[in-house]
Amino acid sequence: MADHDRILRTTPRKAATFDDHTLSEIRRAAATGIYDIRGGGAKRRVPCFDDLVFLGASMSRYPLEGYRERCETNVVLGTRFAKKPIELDIPITIAGMSFGSLSAQAKEALGRGATAMGTSTTTGDGGMTPEERGHSEKLVYQLLPSRYGMNPDDLRKADAIEVVVGQGAKPGGGGMLLGQKISERVAEMRTLPEGIDQRSACRHPDWTGPDDLAIKITELREITAWEKPIYVKVGAARPYYDTALSVKAGADVVVVDGMQGGTAATQEVFIEHVGIPTLPAVREAVRALKELDMHRKVQLIVSGGIRSGADVAKALAMGADAVSIGTAALVAIGDNDPLWEDEYQKLGTTAGAYDDWHEGNDPAGITTQDPDLAARLDPIAAGRRLANYLGVLALELQTLARANGKSHVRNLEPEDLAALTVEAAAMAGVPLAGTSWIPGTR
């Protein structure tokens, strides 16, 4: 190559707008004529708890000794109306994931891990299995639009009831479980033919709006003698109004799930483009509770992309009472483990990126109904891993709480936080670090 040719030619450059993933999606759509379906939550970068830091203690705040002074972590949920509120040892619960989307072994592992750490698990869109009830000391039973497997006996066996209005991965969308995972047992629990694509309703069959929901909640309480805490779970769409309306409808607990929250299967376009991130959702939900003078009276659980004790601590500092984890719990029990890299490669993906959970081929035996794959997951060992992970989250949470001088994690407060970006400062309502400026305020 002559010198002048080298100088005249720039290096090849791909468009930021049309990156490799985008190009591959256009080709995939052109070849198949159908949208992409996958599991998990939003994969794009969104403002999150990483954009906040704790200020720690110094002259005006006194820290607690890390290994000597106690820092409590318990939380009581359902104190508003329920005769039997739930007390959790740690403010970290396991989110609703169905038997059907997950193997029986995976559900058992979640129950074992949560129980070992004194916290709750949650059923999912497919009913309650006896194994799940047996392995979960505290179990939240979801009332979903599909009502698959819903029955009053299981309602009474539950420790709390969660009315699911939506989830963060797809606010406004119903569940989806494709035929590959509708095994005989899953089909029977859902009263559906085996092997069909199950597309759950996105609206409840017998109520519309908060006025109806109030009556629905009354009915659920009447069926369970007003014993069970009743949660209302919403996807982070309009969290200020959704939280306020949940309170109006009589919820004991409001669960707000941000767009990073996972799903078993939904259209990629829905996951990435509907709903708002967890960070602003917490702020808006807390604002609604405070304006109604219901903060701490109606408990707030936040979910969607919680990974570490730092995430938990920041959610609590912003005003949540507890958090819920789904994806992180699956990873803890073995999802996307590089141990299975050869098999992920055969599926055209790699460990850490595997999200075709709906296809039921999970090498880790978690998001599958294939008996051979499911048998790979030892529920006892996996449960122990989850317990370890939950324990680490709690230790990290306590570390941060002590560093901010708190003897109970619920005493963390917005004043302990600063934001690293203008976006996070605006969304979380905490000052940009090094300033007293909260965008949107004077």
Binding site: T32, G33, I34, S146, R147, M150, N151, P152, D153, L155, L178, G179, R190, T191, L192, P193, G195, I196, D197, A201, P205, D206, W207, D212, I215, K216, T218, E219, E222, I223, T224, A225, W226
Partner: protein
């Protein structure tokens, strides 16, 4: 306050709170013991006689609000009047009878048992039904049997638009007209076995009608697995 009249326990919603009334009706839940109750002055109250789980007889003298006899198990509940939305929702077993009309979502997501509506029912009757049998002597509204999974819906009168939209394996029988069928719902042959099946349900419901006068509808099962050629139906 309750008064015993010839072995019928009379429960007055004008005097007692809903919780007290339901607690009284639910007192035999989970046991073999029966009982006979009459609820007076319901005045459209919601969630009356829900969560029953015993072979008790409950007569409600008047109109009820939302979710009367919700999630019923084993009990025989009669509403002598009209019923609000979601009557007998998620019923598991037993019988619920409405002598008047029923509002929306009658029998929604019912898993079993028999719901008889002697008048008409509004929209979404039998939505998401999962094994319940519903017999309506009058007409039913639009979007009835939407996503109906299992059980039988029998209508002596006429049916509104989009009947049986996206239904699964529920079986639908109609004597009158159907305004329009929803996605994947088709008329099917009415054979002897179906007439026998229908006669059995009508007898259980104590409804006098000739099975030969009915048409049968069910799922074409074309939407059970996603097929791009059906995209216009979604």
């Amino acid at each position: 306050m309750s008064k015993s009249m010839s072995n019928v326990d009379v429960v007055d919603l004008a005097e007692l709170e809903l919780r007290e009334v339901n607690a009284r009706l639910q007192q035999h839940n989970g046991s073999e013991q029966g009982g006979h109750f009459r609820v007076i002055n319901p005045n459209g109250a919601h969630a009356v006689a829900c969560g029953l789980n015993a072979a008790v007889i409950v007569e409600i003298d008047g109109h009820t609000g939302y979710y009367a006899a919700g999630m019923n198990q084993a009990a025989e509940v009669t509403i002598k009047g009209n019923a609000g939305p979601g009557v007998a929702e998620n019923m598991m077993s037993g019988t619920v009878r409405v002598t008047g009309d029923a509002s929306q979502y009658a029998g929604a997501s019912g898993h079993g048992g028999l719901l008889v509506i002697e008048g008409s029912a509004s929209s979404r009757c039998g939505i998401s039904m999962k094994g319940i049998d519903i017999v309506v002597k009058g007409n039913i509204g639009h979007m009835s049997a939407f996503m109906a999974q299992a059980g039988r819906l029998v209508v002596l009168g006429d049916v509104g638009a989009d009947f049986g939209d996206s239904l699964y394996e529920a079986r639908l029988f109609v004597r009158g007209s159907v305004k329009s069928l929803g996605a994947d719902c088709i008329e099917k042959d009415m054979q002897d076995e179906h007439r026998d099946e229908l006669a059995e349900i009508l007898a259980l419901a104590q409804v006098d009608a000739n099975p030969a006068d009915f048409k049968r509808y069910g799922s074409a099962r074309k939407l059970y697995n996603f097929n791009i050629d059906n995209v216009g139906a979604y």
